[in-house]
Structures are given as structure tokens and as C-alpha cells.
Symmetry: C2
Subunit: 423 residues, 2 copies
Amino acid sequence: MGIVVQKYGGSSVSDAEGVKRVAQRVVDAKREGHDVVVVVSAMGDSTDDLIALAQQISPVPAPRELDMLLTAGERISMALLAMAIGNLGQEARSFTGSQAGVITDGTHGKAKIIDVTPGRIERALEIGAVAIVAGFQGVSQDSKDITTLGRGGSDTTAVALAAALNADVCEIYSDVDGVFTADPRIVPSARKRDRLSYEEMLEMAACGAKILHLRCVEYARRYQIPIHVRSSFSQKTGTWITDQEVEVDDMEQAIIAGVAHDRSEAKITVVGVPDKVGEAARIFEALSDAQVNLDMIVQNVSAAATNLTDISFTLPREDGQHAMTALSRVKDQVGYDSLLYDDKIGKVSLIGAGMRSHPGVTAKFFAALASAGVNIAMISTSEIRISVIVDEAKVDAAVTAAHTAFELDSTDVEAVVYGGTGR
Amino acid sequence: MGIVVQKYGGSSVSDAEGVKRVAQRVVDAKREGHDVVVVVSAMGDSTDDLIALAQQISPVPAPRELDMLLTAGERISMALLAMAIGNLGQEARSFTGSQAGVITDGTHGKAKIIDVTPGRIERALEIGAVAIVAGFQGVSQDSKDITTLGRGGSDTTAVALAAALNADVCEIYSDVDGVFTADPRIVPSARKRDRLSYEEMLEMAACGAKILHLRCVEYARRYQIPIHVRSSFSQKTGTWITDQEVEVDDMEQAIIAGVAHDRSEAKITVVGVPDKVGEAARIFEALSDAQVNLDMIVQNVSAAATNLTDISFTLPREDGQHAMTALSRVKDQVGYDSLLYDDKIGKVSLIGAGMRSHPGVTAKFFAALASAGVNIAMISTSEIRISVIVDEAKVDAAVTAAHTAFELDSTDVEAVVYGGTGR
């Protein structure tokens, strides 16, 4: 049998008992005959504790040093996991990101993986050991400084290692059973998906499903690494994410893969922008210079009488203040009237490769929202996704209405806990 | 001005305030014009916390993984210190033992430094930065695994770096003002020594003075690195340790450098050993095979009637059970009568290069002990030291009596706290 890469999130190793439970799973996989590489996150909330410590020391800690600090978290969890596996009679060796050959660029706090040279991991596997690798971290190519990969970093480490080692599968363990058709805290009848295409998972991740980070799925798609999202608290099969497209005659596959939602965005409207070539460009240049990431952008047709238009866009709430400042600075240059800021919004998205071949999805979606009394503020679509911005207070109603309208409700409801996988 | 290496112990960086205080001292030294390299221990009790965590996971953790775990402690303190220094407007960069070029053998838990190749430290100094180095850790030459140096490891790191960088001085900071003539908790009138020779400091460290570890002083003597032992809580001059011998006409220098004591040993007596060539050797071979480190050894003249002798020796209490087992195993081979074990003992030592040229020190010491009602169980001497084993309950009385007899008492008593420097 081939190589299996398993990634365990912080909630799976939050205390000594958790570490021992994960160790047993790792040993089971090894005894089934696999070569096992384990990527592990920091224990529970330990990263947050380290960040709090840094903030006591300096309001703006040096990024290089913050990375040095935070990587202590995985160092602890990986060493403990190696000990626990050793205690079960199985040889195990832990490796830092640097030792595992995770080479990144030099962008501290959100470094990108440039290359993976897992020679030491391969040698550990050759002697029959389990290799434990610190997630979320690497070493910069130029300066050899320790870097961290930012949000979703441990998942990305796991997929990148799986690609470099030509692994059969990358298993991502957390405290949920897989990817659901909607957040079960909102829709108790949500069902676990048995499988999804990379494309569908990419759209779901981009639309607020926290179970996998966008970067990790992009990496897996590029290198065609099958991902198995599952729970470390049960033996159940989770959700397989592969390049398998929805087959039309596959009765199990619904048109819609799931309903995602996201409450982390805010909306800014630039009111009264002169409808001339280049005005919009100036606005987005200012936002780009301020390093603001935009999501949806809508420009209304200008009113003929005034030749003025409104431009609305959504962005992460944490960038809101920053973006407003950047726009205020170019007010005279652009010549707009005013700015409106709204962070009481939510995004609800319908995702499914099946909608390609099924016309009428949009109409059905909007009808369901209307029946539930949900007003639509903005719309954005891709080939396999429809997203709408609604009042934040209406997000639950919108998700539930869409889930029911597309017949995703299960009659066989399980008690599940739906949460993020942290880093 | 040249390079100064400063080492701060865990008690100096036990919380955010401590880290900021140390940062200010470092920046002060840098602004005086020195190139500053800082070696830092883990914060307060964090190493003990990590060990406790490991013990929850495995009764006998793999040594390689225990080293990986424990080195997380310095990673945290050094990154925080670098941030705090940065916050004061001074560029600072932290380096792990491996990054700092601390090359060791592969003995996990008590690795020895083989070489120091501080290229990255030198480059950091060249660009005007302060270099922060994790104490207590290195990387093994052969397997490139992370190692720890064991007790006194951070002090040793500091001295080894000072030697490799050709530094002017290695400053060892802790929560005490320097090296005292006796433990001020026992002798409130103990005085801080202004200077000591390496030889005296070696004997004091070997005899229980916890302020500096033996290995660190040995390293400093070999490479002739002046050590300045001082407090991070005050600006006072501490104790200088150099190769300067006591000058006979130096009125400040007393005959005796100080009185050290040690309550960490136990005594084993092998009763009724046949007084034949090779019997003692068999006993010590058995102890050596069991990796037991002995300190004092005494063999009585054998009683002519029986031709049997008793052999007593002292050893670390933690090795006591182990040694007793090893000796029991060779009972028939050696043919001794019985074993006696006593861990209610203490060692009191008088140390001073001055005793070389002053006869009568031994007589005066023993007379002082007799006056204080202290019985002597064993005696051991070197050229500049006299050690006696006494009843553990009499240690304080013995230290006080010796301190007074050799006129070490100060009339100018300061409130001091005397403690170990941890690692």
C-alpha cells in the first residue's frame, strides 16, 4: 500500500487525551500497511494564547518574530504526538516545517509554499517510522527564516506534502464528519456529502464553508490529490473530494452540492461616481494600494439625467475601516458624493456542478428566498455558483429556504457539530 | 567596542513585564556601543509545564521528541524578547540553536557542544541588529536532529557563543546580585564576591553553588572568557570570574572564597568488603556500568582480625535506588556483608585559592564545626577545597560556623534573594 498523509486540527489534539486518541488512529493506519505521514496543528487554543502574549509585548510585533513565536505551537503538539505513538510501540519522528523541506517565499504571516523537498520524511518512512510534520510553517528560500503560511496553512502543508510524496490520499481530520449540504447549526436536516468535485469544494470554501481553506483545495486540484475530509472522533467515512465530475445519471448526486453562508463580510457603496472611463479604476486602484481584498462588485447603470453611478462591493469586515480611509483619501480625485458602510450583511451561496446542466436554478433560488421574506441586496454568479447578499438577520432563513427548495433535507438527522478547522 | 554576550535566565523573563525589562537592558547595552548577542532561557516555569505535559502522554518519552518539545520554550521567549526590543526601536533577530550554529553530539537531553559556527549571528551584528539566541539547544552533527544541552545548558550556550565570537565578556543575568560567600538564606551576613578565579568558581559549582553550572565555567576557563554574574533586577556590578589568581598582598581577597553546601547527595556504605586486590574495583565497575556518578569515596583501613573493610561513597540522591540495585546484583561476586543507605546527609565545602598559601585552614574549619556541635562523617579535599559530609540537619549550622570562623561575615547586610539560575 502507498503513502497516506493525515492532517489533524487543533481541536483533535487539544489535550493529552486527544493526542493519545490521534496516536491510536495513526498507529491503526500504519498497521493496516500504509506509510503514514501526519501533519499536526497547534493544540487547541494555544496559538491564540501565543498571540495574546505577543500583544502584551508589542502592539505591532515584528512579523519575522511573530512567525518564530507561533511555530512553537506545532513544535509542542508534534513532539507530544510522536511520544504518544512511540508509547504504542510504533517508531515516530517529528519534523519542523523546515526539516520537512517546506520551502516558502519570505512573506511572514502568510507565506506561500514554493517547493517541498521531503528527503528526511522519505528516509523516516524507509526505516518504517511514522513521520510527524508541523503544519502551518516553513522556511523561506532566500533568508532561511522561519515562516508561517497563514489561515488554512496546516491543510495546505498536508496537501503539499501529499503531492511531493505522491501519496494516495490526504486525510483532513477535524471535529466534524465531513462536508455538509449546509451548516447543521442552521439546518439540522443538513446531510453529509459523500463526495464533491474540487470545483464545488473551491466554491464552497470561497463562500464561507470553513471546513477546508481555499488554498488547500486549489493545491489539491492542481496536483490531483484526493482529499478525504473526516472526523477524528469517529470511524465513519467522511467526504471525498476528487476530480470526479457529477455524473448526470448518478441519482445520488443532486443538482446542488450545498448551501454555504458567510457572515464575515461588509459592504461599501461609493455613491455618485461620475460615469466616465477610468473613474472606477481609480477607486479600485486605491483599494488595491491599501491591500484590500474585494469579493463581489456591482455597478449600477448610471442615471441618464445625472450621469452618476453607484459602485458597491463587499470585503472582509476586518478590512472595512482601512478601505473607508483609503477611499476618503481619493474623494476629490474621483469626485464621488459619499460613502456608505454596512457590516450587517451576510452572503448565501448555492453551489453545484449540476446547475450547469439544469436551467432554472436561479429562478427557483430567488423564489425560495422571496417566499421566506428575504430581500436580495447584491447578486454574483459563476458557472457553478449563485451568491446573494442579504440582511445579516435573514441569513438563517435564506439558507434554510434554499436547502429545502433544492430537496437537500435529510430525513435521517444526525447530531453533528459543525465548526472551523482553525489553521 | 566589542561584542557582549548576555544570558538571561527564566526568572528574568517569566512574564511580559520581565521580557520588557530585559529588552530595555539589552537596548541600553547596544546604545553604549556594544555589539550585543543575547542568550535566553525559557520563560519562568514553562519547561516544567512542558515536561508535565510529556509525562501525561508517555511515562518514558522518546528522548529525541522530548528535546523537540522542550526547545519550544526558548523559541517563545526569544521571539517575545526580539519583539520587545523591536518595540524600543532597535532591530533584533532571534535564532534557534540550530540557526545560531550550535553543533552538538547526538546525546539527547544532555548533548555536548562540538562546534559553534555563528555565521548568521555575525551577519545580524554586521547590519546593526541585536542577535537573540535560544539557550539550552543545538542541532546534532550527524542526524541534524534538535538536541538539548541539559542542566546549565543556557549558560554554556552563552559562553560557547562568546568564545566563537571572540566576545569581550559573557554576562550571566539571574535574580541574584552575584556569587556570595555563602547562601544568604542560611547566612544573612554573606557577602557578594567582587571576583573569583575560574578554579574557585569551578569548585563552588561542583560543591552545590547553583548560580553557575560546572560545564559553563569549564568552557569559560578553557577559552578564557571573562564571566560577569549579575542581577537583571539591578544595575549593580556583580561577580567577575576570570583567570586572575588571588594575589597574596590583595587585602580585599580573603583566604576563603566562600562556603558552599549541597543537600542533593546520598551516602552508600558497602560493609565488610574482603580487603583483597580488585574487590573495590569490582564494586566501582558495577556502579560505572549502571552509569552512576560518584562524588566522594572513602575506604577505611581494614580491621586486622577480619581482613574486612568498609567502603563509603556519595552520589546524587536520584541515582540512589539505581546504585543499590546494581550493588545487590554483584553481592556474591564481591562477597561483602551488607549495604547501608543514608540520604539524610549534606555536604559543606570551604573553597579558596588562598588556602594554598595558608596552612591551618583545615584545623580551623574542623574546630569551627566542633564548636557548633557538628559531627563529620566523611572528608574530601583538593588543593583549594575542603568538603565534609555532615548530618543534613546540621548543614545550616556548619555553613554559618565556617563562614564566621573565616571572617566572611559582612557588617553591611543587604536583603538578597539567592536562587538557582534554572537552565
